[in-house]
Symmetry: D2
Amino acid sequence: MANERYALIFSCEDQLGITAAVSVSLEACGANITEAHQYNDEETGQFFSRIEFAFVGDVRIDELTNKLQSVAERFEMEWEVRNLSLRKKSLILVSRFDHCLADILYRWRIGELAMDIVGIVANYPRETYQHQSFDGLEFHYLPITPETKREQEGQIWDLVKKHSVDLVVLARYMQILSTELSARLEGRCINIHHSFLPGFKGAKPYHQARARGVKLIGATAHYVTQNLDEGPIIEQDVERVSHHDTADALVRKGRDIERRVLSRAIAWHLQGRVITSGPKTIVFSD
Amino acid sequence: MANERYALIFSCEDQLGITAAVSVSLEACGANITEAHQYNDEETGQFFSRIEFAFVGDVRIDELTNKLQSVAERFEMEWEVRNLSLRKKSLILVSRFDHCLADILYRWRIGELAMDIVGIVANYPRETYQHQSFDGLEFHYLPITPETKREQEGQIWDLVKKHSVDLVVLARYMQILSTELSARLEGRCINIHHSFLPGFKGAKPYHQARARGVKLIGATAHYVTQNLDEGPIIEQDVERVSHHDTADALVRKGRDIERRVLSRAIAWHLQGRVITSGPKTIVFSD
Amino acid sequence: MANERYALIFSCEDQLGITAAVSVSLEACGANITEAHQYNDEETGQFFSRIEFAFVGDVRIDELTNKLQSVAERFEMEWEVRNLSLRKKSLILVSRFDHCLADILYRWRIGELAMDIVGIVANYPRETYQHQSFDGLEFHYLPITPETKREQEGQIWDLVKKHSVDLVVLARYMQILSTELSARLEGRCINIHHSFLPGFKGAKPYHQARARGVKLIGATAHYVTQNLDEGPIIEQDVERVSHHDTADALVRKGRDIERRVLSRAIAWHLQGRVITSGPKTIVFSD
Amino acid sequence: MANERYALIFSCEDQLGITAAVSVSLEACGANITEAHQYNDEETGQFFSRIEFAFVGDVRIDELTNKLQSVAERFEMEWEVRNLSLRKKSLILVSRFDHCLADILYRWRIGELAMDIVGIVANYPRETYQHQSFDGLEFHYLPITPETKREQEGQIWDLVKKHSVDLVVLARYMQILSTELSARLEGRCINIHHSFLPGFKGAKPYHQARARGVKLIGATAHYVTQNLDEGPIIEQDVERVSHHDTADALVRKGRDIERRVLSRAIAWHLQGRVITSGPKTIVFSD
């Protein structure tokens, strides 16, 4: 028990004494800081911090929470304390291309992504993923057409509510969420877009990239908002390409970028390392 | 003499026997191929090639050119043979920020960029670059205002004509060339744009990048066309940034990307390694 | 049939007329070159080339092979013509860590690695890989101890012979092959070493990397030779790390590097893009 | 004055209350934390931190130093408070290749490297660097032979003492410092080695890299110690190369890596972002 890690994540207006007040509270409860990040946004005057800690002796989390409550009121913080050993509940949405799904499941099985997967939703039937082991995982085949979109999203939303889902992952889910569902999932829905945003928004980004003749292609993991491909960016990466890469070759190279970018974004989200600030994110990466 | 390198650069419709015809001509004149690249664009059916060669015995360049002329007619090639030891004449344009200029001059002095610099044009006075040695180089202070733009561009064009300039480098020249001058310089004017195009076209791209919260910033070297920031891309590169990078920090990190991207593009252009194909380039990089 | 791709791979002493002789033979048989690479090693005077082609009309491969035989004799070439649609037979060896295996199988299933997997050999039992689908693949549990090493390698060798194996992949197979088996598999056995060679040879390279305090870690795919970790390098890649990365974190980051480096090396080997030249490789990558 | 930035850099055994004690002292003196990093080395149980701060009202640095003195005694810290606006005194040593020198001077002139350059020492005469402006900088031509090495190093040491030099930069200074001088400069002498250490120690690393056939080359900035090429690594970077890169091409590509790696290491050292811990560094990079 005493080795459990917690994370205090907070933001407020930057002012004198924040760190002192927080760290005195932590010390008073026997909480040793094991990792700490802070960021002072000089443009907005906002202060953001993530402090990971463990109790040296007894776990005095309630006492600590009370103390932090006072500090938070004094500095008008938005704040949260999380027990990092409690796993987030995740729902994964996928379409025909399952490279991101396969990657997430592998990382999850070997413990790299510490989360509870409460279900997989696909708009393709189970046999599309016949070589993937879903052993112990709920699989929901929820096909979608323009006519059934409202209903299908209702089924997704039911799953989110039923399982108290903390994170919805669009693992190359090739459907655009409605404005309504996007709004309901704000801050807890991560999409992987197969371009280096803001370049090549919308459909067929690799074909757009080839048409424009770029020399690097990329992928972007971002929180879903009501504005398509405009949500806060969590992570991006790129790889070098050249004139001789066909659209197929770009798709192939892109798969590698997509899966590593998405898995980093998921890991950071699960560990409370991502704070959104308007259209942007602060990422206290490990 | 016999060690001089030549490059045959050509394109035509892809068809049987191109390489055979060209290589037989080369062999017949005692020209040994030292480096060869080709690219078959399956979308357009076009064939592009660059063949570097040296004569084993006597230099029989006129004889070879005649033979290649016949081959070119047969296959309806666009073609060119260049003596790579003949240096291209370059004119460098710069504004207040001179990191690309400093970098180009350094590489030129140590022989990394084999070209003749026929002049430096700046819209800032000589003292702006006081710590740079222009020893032996013509410096032209050509200030520009909206009213004098036409006249100033006339002076640039005069320099281009006077020196038979093969390459105009916009080394962070913060003026938009007129449609007219852009057209005149098409295919021989390289600009460095300080973003990873097509993201963040136009002014203040690093500020745009910060506002959007991207996790990588980049730079793009491209041929100047009449459409601003839309010309064929020659080279791009990126570096990782994060939320804590201020606009100033992005500018600082960007300088390193800009100068290496621009110098690569210049080097490849000088060596005849870049072929434009519509809105794109084929780059047979070394 | 007519769309089948072939590759001519050859090396010889550099001399006038090689390309002419080869390309005339190709043209004479109606073979259109679709991709071509060559490399003149100025240090050794050796010439290396890979030419991909397809027949425009009838497949005249026997006629072509005869013609090329004459050319090869004239220039004293080592040469090979391969029908790229014929899949190589591969045997994959794995130990406890199966991230490379999982990655290879995924890429193979979606057609990214075009090969026939004739078997998987593991020194751990089937349940170690319980979530991996080996549907249709032979799985051989061949445990190994110092005492049984000779015998176990005999079993591997029997599989190689039985299936006429073209490629043995050591996909994090944590056993050192004997000098004898290494010699037998020379040129057709690829290992992934989890360091950026030549740094950190031998055991526990990530721990060595952490002890030395390097700022990047890497992985190396190389052909296995009798000298451990000294074989010709096919591909390498790295990722940035820092002081706060524990050995476990390095292992985690390393998994991503290993799998992409190994899969690139396999793909290039399968397509005949790798030519060994003494202790080094020439890689005509796509 | 009130906007001056200070940095508290310290290390001690990890224990409860360090951050609380330090941050309470800072708050008590009106010092607002603007950037903070910490690192708990779980292997050694050591705690490292760098806290940047500015006084909100009056500068109360003496009062703060007194308070921190008590804290430091309580936790047995090694510590230092630095006024970041006071520039470090640097001496730059160079041999024939001056790309790192040119780069450092450029960055210094535009304010990217905030230091006072008290002199340039070269074992080649002034005309070797004829196109570099040393305006206002002392240039010392100190040639060296095996016989005069002891004497020449004495002259360097005299300069270090005379100017109270905080940092000696070996900017491709192709001489091995004696054990004695290395010891005297420990912790304040940065070298750029032109390989990705620990690969290719010693002489001609690019030739070693070519001989081994690596697919990436790199450079390493490290503190100089008495063991050649074994000092704590501050920064490293790499670039992709291939079989067709001659040793000359590697040298050319290497120049770009060397200069950016060295300049990052210098910048981080100047800002107190590098803490050595035995054979390694902790780098709290910006």
